[in-house]
């Protein structure tokens, strides 16, 4: 049995942020995540570190939180933030009035803006629609959510934090009406562990209702699915937003070698088994193309979707609901946090930990805004030169990931899914989406003896099916062409369906 002061449920940005915050305040804790880090909405968002511009007109509270956290993260997380800057572009027909309110509110909240002529905007981002009226420059950034979570975990682990990924909470143990622990099931072996704590933090995002119910409580929340598409290459080096009230498909974010565009906002009942519809893809591609015309025939390599957990119980329009967050004290040792966004994860963690400290009657204050994220020194980023050094050894040709890199991750984290390797190396994130390299990655996993042989085929099958689900909505053009080759490899050459 594991005993810690605080049990954190959820390994998204909030949960990982809470783990770091508690670690720095000297509180012992255990984090439980049913998948890998950032497996929910954290990893399935834009990766946009908001300047606040998007919310400045309709939701000033959220906007204010965004700009202040934007500054903090640029300071403490240099290696996971790319300071791209962002543009809000106004296209012919977009309201001038909205633009005026936008500028006034930005000013009021201290969001730095610069109005750019269309000529100047096109100099900065040549792929923009040449018909644009003007653009407003804001300090939007691109942020790597996987890396962010893992860096937060570094601080936790260094101070004795117990981190259990691929463990699912199956029961919340209550004694005399109070939550005193959880039972968790290890995903692959199905073995059960018991963890005891004084306080339980429910940071499970879209799954928060489910966890609250295990404790006999409930939450005023609603679920909204957001879908995105991934392009084959970077079409812009800056974040591009549409200067109008938030709507579908009006953000384009550069991320490593690609661009992400989205999102949609569709109410859903359950957070699992998300599908991206052809209709959503068409809307996103069309809207993105109005800002960057190349989107009309760019090769889209994949779609994905995440579920936002939003406050309120009115599911009619997810965009009307505040993007700020709320901490709920269930008065039984369980604290839930819902709403919020990746950009404000640290602030959310701070407020939650403040509540936990009050519960404990302790005074220690938060230092996460001042201390840089630990472990950044070791990060190498994405230098092409170092990837080319081991060219002979490359197992993922799209993203230039070498066999030794894959072996290093296998030794270090003992992965049970290809996703665990993907997030740490970018293996399988290029145009073929792991079509060639997943077979190799599992071959290597097998050779190191970390997974059984029967397991390996199951992992490969699951990966290919999940991969196909993400690719199916964008199967036309060259992506369709590539997919037919991948189908030939797994069915025509490897006869995999006969397993």
């Amino acid at each position: 049995m594991i005993v810690r002061d605080v049990i954190i449920i959820g390994g998204g940005s909030t949960g990982c942020g809470v783990a770091r915050d508690l670690a720095l305040r000297g509180i012992s804790h255990c984090l439980i995540e049913k998948g890998d880090f950032a497996a929910g909405a954290t990893g399935a968002c834009h990766g946009l570190l908001h300047s606040g511009g998007r919310y400045v007109v309709a939701d000033p509270t959220a906007a204010e939180e965004c700009i202040s956290e934007n500054r903090v993260l640029r300071k403490i997380g240099r290696k996971c933030v790319e300071q791209t800057g962002g543009l809000f572009v106004r296209l012919p027909g977009d309201s001038k009035k909205y633009r005026d309110i936008f500028l006034i509110n930005c000013d009021r909240l201290g969001i730095e803006t610069e109005v750019l002529s269309s000529t100047r905007a096109l100099e900065l981002v040549p792929s923009l629609n040449p018909l644009l009226e003007e653009a407003v420059r804001v300090p939007d950034c691109s942020i790597d959510p996987f890396r962010l979570c893992m860096l937060n975990i570094v601080s936790s682990k260094a101070r004795g934090g117990e981190i259990l990924t691929h463990h699912e909470v199956i029961e919340i143990i209550k004694e005399r009406g109070r939550c005193v622990g959880v039972k968790v099931k290890e995903k692959t072996s199905s073995s059960i562990k018991e963890i005891r704590g004084k306080v339980i933090v429910n940071a499970s995002g879209a799954w928060a209702q489910r966890i609250a119910m295990l404790a006999g409580s409930s939450l005023p929340m609603t679920l909204s699915k957001g879908s995105l598409v991934v392009t084959n290459h970077r079409l812009s080096n800056m974040v591009i937003n549409r200067l109008r009230p938030p709507s579908d498909g009006d953000i384009i974010v550069p991320n490593e070698a690609v661009c992400l565009a989205g999102t949609s906002s569709v109410g859903v009942d359950v957070p699992d088994n998300l599908n991206v519809s052809d209709g959503e893809v068409e809307v996103i591609a069309r809207e993105a193309a109005s800002m960057i015309p190349e989107f009309e025939d760019v090769r889209l390599i994949r779609t994905y979707a995440g579920v936002r957990a939003l406050l309120s119980s009115d599911p009619c329009d997810g965009r009307q609901i505040s993007r700020s967050f709320k901490i709920i004290d269930h008065k039984n040792g369980l604290f839930s946090i819902i709403g919020g966004k990746l950009s404000t994860y640290r602030l959310m963690a701070e407020k939650l930990c403040d509540a936990v400290m009050r519960e404990f009657g302790l005074k220690k204050t938060c230092v996460t805004a001042e201390k840089p994220l630990e472990g950044q020194e070791e990060l190498r980023g994405y230098p092409l030169s170092s990837r080319l050094e081991s060219l002979k050894d490359i197992v993922c040709e799209c993203e230039l990931v070498s066999r030794s890199e894959v072996e290093r991750v296998i030794q270090k984290i003992n992965p049970k899914h290809i996703g665990d390797i993907q997030h740490r190396t970018r293996l399988g994130m290029g145009p073929c989406q792991g079509g060639f390299c997943s077979y190799r990655a599992i071959g290597i996993m097998q050779e190191t003896g970390k997974i059984s042989q029967e397991e390996s085929i199951q992992i490969l099958k699951e990966f290919l099916q999940r991969r196909f689900k993400g690719i199916k909505p964008v199967l036309w053009g060259d992506q369709l062409r590539e997919e037919q080759l991948i189908e030939y490899i797994y069915l025509g050459i490897l006869s995999m369906e006969s397993y």
Partner: protein, 398 residues
């Protein structure tokens, strides 16, 4: 480089080369235009005639109406494959098997793959119960993992050879060298491998696989078989080279690495094509044209967001209408609807009557409703329709 031929074949893959060779055999002057090396080089090199059945010919007779195999009489399908076996034997990559019966070979995943005709280097790739199979791999080879295979076999072992190079093509090139073969054979003998068969990824040479295979068997006294690997695949490359060489030996002209810039037409007749070549433009004229550009992978068809078009002549294409129905949910389902896309032909392999061209013939997977993955009939269909379209074309030229 301009030229005038009896027949101009567009597309240098299995079906195009089969058609071109067949026309050469009939004494016609032939040229083949190809954008580059074909999808054949990515294939296993095995001839899938019709999988999912033990007797391919019987399976073909039961195919739904409209499948392109239906336009080829059974005896012509047999003749086409006999013709194929003759060409590959001449080209020193003899194939084993009979069109009357399918067989199963071991894949790099250890599964069984159904196919029909296989290169002699894969002749012994059949499971026979508990017989010992020893798997040889090569150090650093990224597309071959013996563990996948060993978990599927009961009685098995494995050794890894360091060839000093880690790509299949690089290792294959090494095997062309006699000294390397001697070193490898000596190494095999030192492994004290139990009685049984020895298998290895398909790396036994690029140009002289047959003599390399025989040489290894002689030096070691063992039975070997190759396992076709992921692309690029040596058996596929050998097959392509063999057909290309057969065509050259028969006087066929190749325009390789050439894309078609424009097509000259007069009424219902295609007169010639202009090639987009670096340097000067070439014009190729012909009495008849054969379109063998394949489906999506090879670029004969291209899918827009909700339309499909044919890339050389912009012929009308049949395809499932709503993109929503192009693919099924299950990746492993074999046979997504989009596979039906292609150009509809009549029994003489000309585009359907409402399409104007009288001197154009089609073969291979560009033909509508081929459904190559669903039926497992890629190379077999290419051979049969390539042969039959050539016959039809020959009748027209006369």
């Amino acid at each position: 480089m301009n030229g005038t031929y009896d027949a101009v074949v567009i597309g240098g893959g299995m079906s195009g080369l089969t058609a071109a060779i067949t026309l050469c055999n009939a004494g016609k002057t032939v040229s083949v235009i190809s954008k580059g090396d074909p999808v054949c080089c990515l294939s296993t090199g095995c001839i899938d005639v019709l999988n999912g059945t033990e007797r391919p010919l019987k399976g073909i007779s039961e195919l739904p109406f409209g499948h392109p195999y239906g336009f080829v009489a059974e005896d012509l399908i047999i003749e086409a494959h006999e013709h194929f076996l003759k060409i590959v034997a001449e080209g020193k990559i003899p194939y084993t098997g009979s069109i009357h019966e399918n067989r199963q070979i071991i894949t790099p995943l250890g599964t069984k793959k159904t196919t029909c005709l296989v290169p002699k280097t894969m002749e012994y790739s059949e499971y026979d119960g508990g017989d010992y199979v020893h798997v040889i791999s090569f150090k650093g080879l990224k597309d071959f993992y013996p563990t996948y295979i060993m978990m599927r076999l009961e009685n098995t072992g494995c050794s890894v050879f360091d060839a000093g190079i880690s790509s299949t093509i690089g290792i294959a090139e090494q095997f062309e060298d006699e000294h390397f073969r001697q070193t490898f054979a000596d190494w095999i003998l030192r492994q004290n491998i139990p009685d049984g068969k020895i298998t290895l990824p398909a790396v036994l040479g690029i140009r002289s696989s047959l003599s390399i295979y025989d040489d290894l068997s002689r030096r070691t006294g063992r039975i070997f078989f190759e396992i076709p690997t992921l692309p690029p695949s040596l058996p596929g490359i050998r097959l392509f080279n063999c057909l290309k060489n057969a065509l050259i030996a028969r006087g066929g002209q190749l325009y390789w690495g050439s894309e078609i810039a424009s097509v000259e037409k007069l009424g219902t007749i295609i007169e010639g094509v202009t090639l987009k070549n670096p340097g000067r433009v070439a014009r190729v004229q012909g009495k008849a044209f054969i379109l063998a550009t394949g489906s999506f992978i090879s670029g004969g068809l291209f899918a827009g967001m909700d339309t499909v078009h044919e890339t050389v002549l912009d012929l009308p294409v049949y395809y499932p209408e709503n993109r929503k129905f192009w693919f099924k949910e299950d990746f492993f389902s074999r046979g997504h609807e989009i596979e039906k896309a292609g150009v509809e032909v009549d029994a003489s392999f000309r585009p359907m009557a409402d399409v104007a061209f009288k001197n154009l013939f089609l073969c291979g997977s560009i033909i509508a409703r081929s459904e190559v993955m669903k039926y497992g009939c890629g190379h077999g269909l290419a051979i049969a329709t390539g042969y039959a379209a050539a016959r039809s074309c020959e009748g027209f030229i006369k």
